[in-house]
Assembly symmetry: C2
Homo-oligomer: 229 residues x 2
């Protein structure tokens, strides 16, 4: 594959879908550039980001809309093409870059990884996404808690069956890449993650790993000072 130029990640420090892609790049050891996209009202006020402000109306440029018509982050420029949808990006990185596999070789284990990833990426995250809870308004905290709890109640028994050291067996996979940012979101929305012992254990184990640390929302170029680790 042509990899002459570094991929460019258009993302946002706190977007869980951007974090997924950052973890994948880190696990694969792929160098990339970040171009932060402001999901914040009136754009550019990075120094006064707060939970409240970050949850308000996004202002995205027409330029960005051309990169990702869905007007969400991330979008990734890579190998002369532009991709959006984090799981599509992660699987593309996995299929074109050397380094540890992000999906196992065995078809059944691959299916389990994708099942867990999709449970999070289709069954939980979209329902507490910025553009959805904007429409919910005042009830957004309860709404988000409801759908995260509903998803975690399903995820916990599945992980109990599939997990070893990590979500599926003992190798890190795309499922782990999806889990950690979703737990981070759960904590932001004050979900009691202690109710889900397998999820909690896996999240803690994964946060020990460098690729999950360097990609963390508290350590990105657009992380505001008061949220910086």
């Amino acid at each position: 594959m042509a990899t002459q130029t570094k991929p460019i990640l258009h993302g946002y420090f706190r977007s869980s879908c951007s974090w997924r892609v950052r973890i994948a790049f880190a696990l694969k050891g792929v160098e990339y550039d970040q171009l932060p996209v402001n999901l914040i009202k009136d754009g550019g006020q990075q120094s006064c980001v707060s939970l409240t402000v970050a949850l308000s109306v996004p202002k995205l440029t027409e330029e960005y809309k051309a990169l990702n018509p869905m007007q969400q982050v991330p979008a990734v420029e890579i190998d002369g093409t532009t991709l959006s949808q984090s799981l599509a990006v992660i699987q593309y990185i996995d299929e074109t870059r050397p380094g540890p596999r992000l999906l196992p070789a065995d078809p059944k284990a691959r299916a389990q990884v994708r099942m867990i990833s999709d449970l999070i990426a289709s069954g939980i995250q979209p329902l507490q996404n910025l553009y959805v809870i904007q429409k919910i308004g005042a009830e957004k905290m309860q709404w988000s808690q409801h759908f995260i709890d509903r998803g975690f109640q399903a995820l916990e028994p599945i992980l109990k069956q599939t997990a070893g050291k990590y979500c599926v067996g003992d190798e890190i996979s795309m499922a782990d890449i999806c889990l950690v940012p979703q737990v981070y979101n759960a904590e932001r929305f004050k979900v009691d993650v202690g109710k889900y012992p397998t999820i909690k254990r896996l999240n803690e184990a994964l946060l020990e790993i460098e690729a999950f640390q360097v990609s963390h929302p508290s350590r990105q170029p657009d992380t505001p000072d008061d949220l910086r680790a």
Copy 2:
């Protein structure tokens, strides 16, 4: 792979995610059994299904909850394991069964197929899913229209770039498998699909294909008589 016993699809005639799996089985020429799961209040009243009833509270058994803790359809018993999440199931079928590829061989084309599939499966369908619009209540029609239109506005320019005869080039793929059931949902929610000429054209072309016809909601074992084609 062990394929001695036929896969069992636990689904629902009108569920778009069940339809996706039915299309994949049909394209691959895989025989399977269907066990309908009633997404209908009080269960078992299949002869009086109507749009209104089908949108009311689902009653799923504890047995089914063991198969799919997310309490959604589909779940598929296959090769001695149980899988949920339709895109995980479709890719498992693709990777373990002969027949036409559901994802292209070229990594960039594969990424485009996954990007389009995920835009629908994570960006549109979850927001007009039964268990979400139940929570929305009286506004569910406008809510669903809003998010389907939002998704189609993004999908249309992407498909304009990727499509040939079908969503990505001239071969049928997982992207097409996601598109047709989503257009069916759009029509149920009275979205004017004519505003999206590429989506409309692709949907019409795909509905000419036998695999999309035999799997159609109007032709399933649990399709009520008044909706039967």
